[in-house]
Symmetry: C2
Subunit: 427 residues, 2 copies
């Protein structure tokens, strides 16, 4: 039986999870996979810090060089997060002929292709199943199960924190800020929640998925991004009347040779499979031209679920050590049709206004929509007779930039007291 | 660029689907996977039969030897179904150093280990993603994404025909036989529907999944199997009152060292993720000790979805040609704890009786349950005052054999006019 020596860079939540899995399931992995996994060294900032887990003290080190220069270590798992110094360390490991397994979505989104090139040049692997949707094996499935498909669409709930907040807001009728502070107390949201609630986390993840699915390096700067901070219980309530549930969706679509990638709060029909994804669960919905619709559902975060993906990648890397898997981004290399990035994506939109209750207001607003080619599918008017009344539109498919122009005109109209919210609708 | 020559055994629905995918997406596969797929020979019964697809006539053959003896063909995809002659052909291909890809669930369920041994001895691969859940990559995920997990439970909706029938019965209040004959007319059910409606198809599939998950060769003869023919609209209606939806579930559980595998109509809570799986969709719900709950959802049949799995296996087999993946069944080889097969599984049960409306009947029946240690969770009594009235119980967890004994006594009780149905309940 072979033994593989592994090193960890960082030892937070996910690293500890991966360590526990190797400790507790290592014997079974040896039996079923024919490989013994040994965590030989762990890079930490403070080797004397008290930890909740029993460890041989000697495996801890605060010197990266001890790992980079140890020829016995063939696989390094990175848990530091962020771009630097993780990137430097990973490049150094790859150049020292060590395969790297990582959960670092920001790094892979921004520098995945570059790192893969270094890995390939050094004959080692770069694996990042844990970077998207925790234990749900969406990376593997895109790379190794849907190879025969042209992927046309991805819609994912890939940030657990925002899904938890939106579920609570929807089911308990509570405000965003109220639920956020509860989530922070319970440890479901970070003390600084920006990366989650502003959609950066989901943006990095859809960047990785869409790059793989479309075989094109998607630049994070090309991704439309909007967080959930402006969603109110009123939006949710009116959405429900229209048969919609709200989710923060990460969406990537390819139409002909045009790609669009976006992250924003989205209304979806209540009977859509993604509407059943509640609390901190994740799900990724994919459309392939052969396979049709597929959905993968599971825990998108947590020490053991994400650790499961890390250990799976370690085992995969071991099996593929003589021929690692690399993701192809051929469209940027000019071999197939050139893909164009689409900034002016199309969607249906939910538009919530507060207007003066006067005759002719609806007609005026409809006129602005018409001016920019936005056609209206349905209207809700409420509480007639008060001074300020809600007016809700759902449009047919419209270009986002046309919507923006129409809304800009509408906002200037004196009978419109407030443009409350604009939320895309996907089916 | 390398080219791989492939041969098909049989050319029905799925074979045609795989052929179309290779024809239509072959260029993209060449770009992204670096391999050209060429279907070089197709074994058919009648080479002159008119077909709906354009083909070079010369690739058709009715002589298996032309395939077995062609050294240029390195991968053979089998679409014949059933045990013989498929098994003979596959063994012959493996011994001629050809990797085999198959959608044949009955064959893999009954002889998968034996065939894998032949494959391993000949240094070639045996892949069968398409045998379970069509395009949904559950085999790959069990083998290559959840390796770090001890799998405790599988619950699957893995027969599209029965799920279609049960969905229609539930949503439209129609009888089994009525929906079945409609399904047959629409081509959703076979002219002889036995394999689907009696649960054989699901049995073969759960046999494959549980063997992989528990690393134990599960004998199909050890699987409890019950079809959906006895389910009535009354059962569905009373189940709904209790908050349940009905599905034909294939279930495999491992508790300590004991394994149980069963296929039967099952009530599940309406908010269970599997309750959202409607019509002919498939879904597999898995519990791993690290990853937690995972669900995979998609089309379980059809030419292109199943073809997608076949072509994926072909590409995988190509990449792994120097080191094929084999599934380990180590528990039968004595290396880990010995697994025991459990015939007397435990479940909650829904029991529907028709009884005389007389004082004391409920108490008498409760007495029989008590005698065999079956405790009652809830009771519904309906239509009091008529001669024959329905009486529905839901039990707490009970052993199946104890239930059978209690029901046998209850059936003999003169105030019990009919034991209408007994349906397990899973949460």
């Amino acid at each position: 039986m072979e033994e593989v020596k592994i090193s960890f860079l960082g030892f937070g939540n996910v690293g500890t999870g991966a360590y526990k899995i190797i400790r507790d399931n290592g014997k079974d992995i040896l039996l079923s996979e024919g490989v013994g996994l040994k965590v030989a060294k762990i890079l930490v900032r403070d080797i004397n810090k008290k930890r909740d887990i029993e460890l041989e003290h000697s495996i801890l080190t605060d010197k990266f060089e001890e790992i980079a220069n140890d020829p016995e270590i063939s696989i390094v798992a990175e848990f530091m997060g962020g771009v630097e110094p993780a990137k430097d360390y990973i490049v150094s490991c790859l150049m020292n002929k060590k395969t790297v397994v990582t959960a670092n979505k920001e790094l892979i989104a921004k520098h995945g292709l570059e790192l893969q090139t270094v890995a390939r040049e050094n004959g080692v692997g770069l694996y990042y199943e844990a970077s998207v949707a925790g234990g749900v094996p969406v990376i593997k499935i895109l790379a190794e199960s849907l190879q025969a498909n042209k992927i046309g669409e991805i819609m994912g709930i890939i940030n657990g924190t925002t899904n938890y907040i939106l579920t609570k807001m929807s089911e308990e009728g509570r405000d965003f800020s109220d639920v956020l502070s509860e989530a922070q107390k319970l440890g479901f949201a970070e003390p600084d929640p920006t990366a989650d609630i502003e959609g950066f986390d989901a943006m990095y993840k859809i960047c990785i998925l869409s790059s793989m699915a479309f075989h094109k390096r998607v630049d994070v700067n090309n991704i439309y991004r909007e967080g959930i901070t402006k969603i109110t219980t009123e939006d949710i309530e009116y959405g429900r009347e229209l048969g919609f549930a709200i989710r923060l969706l990460a969406i990537a679509k390819k139409r002909n040779n045009t790609v669009e990638v976006r992250v924003h709060p989205t209304f979806i029909p209540v009977d859509h499979p993604l509407a059943a994804v509640r609390h901190s669960f994740n799900a990724v919905f994919l459309k392939g031209d052969a396979v049709g619709n597929i959905m993968l559902y599971g825990k998108g975060a947590g020490d053991l679920p994400t650790g499961s993906a890390i250990v799976s990648d370690i085992i995969t890397a071991y099996h593929q050590r003589s021929k690692h898997r690399y993701i192809s981004f051929y469209n940027d290399e000019g071999s197939a049709e050139k893909l164009k990035f689409n900034d002016d994506w199309e969607s249906e939109f939910f538009v919530r206004l507060t207007v003066k209750d006067k005759p002719g207001v609806l007609a005026k607003i409809a006129g602005y929509f018409g001016k920019y080619g936005v056609s209206i599918a349905s209207v809700i008017q409420k509480d007639r007779g008060k001074d300020a009344v809600p007016l809700i539109f759902v449009t047919h498919l419209a270009k986002e930039l046309s919507m923006k122009k129409a809304i800009s005109d509408i906002a200037k109209e004196e009978d419109v007291l407030m443009v409350e919210n604009i939320i895309p609708v996907e089916r």
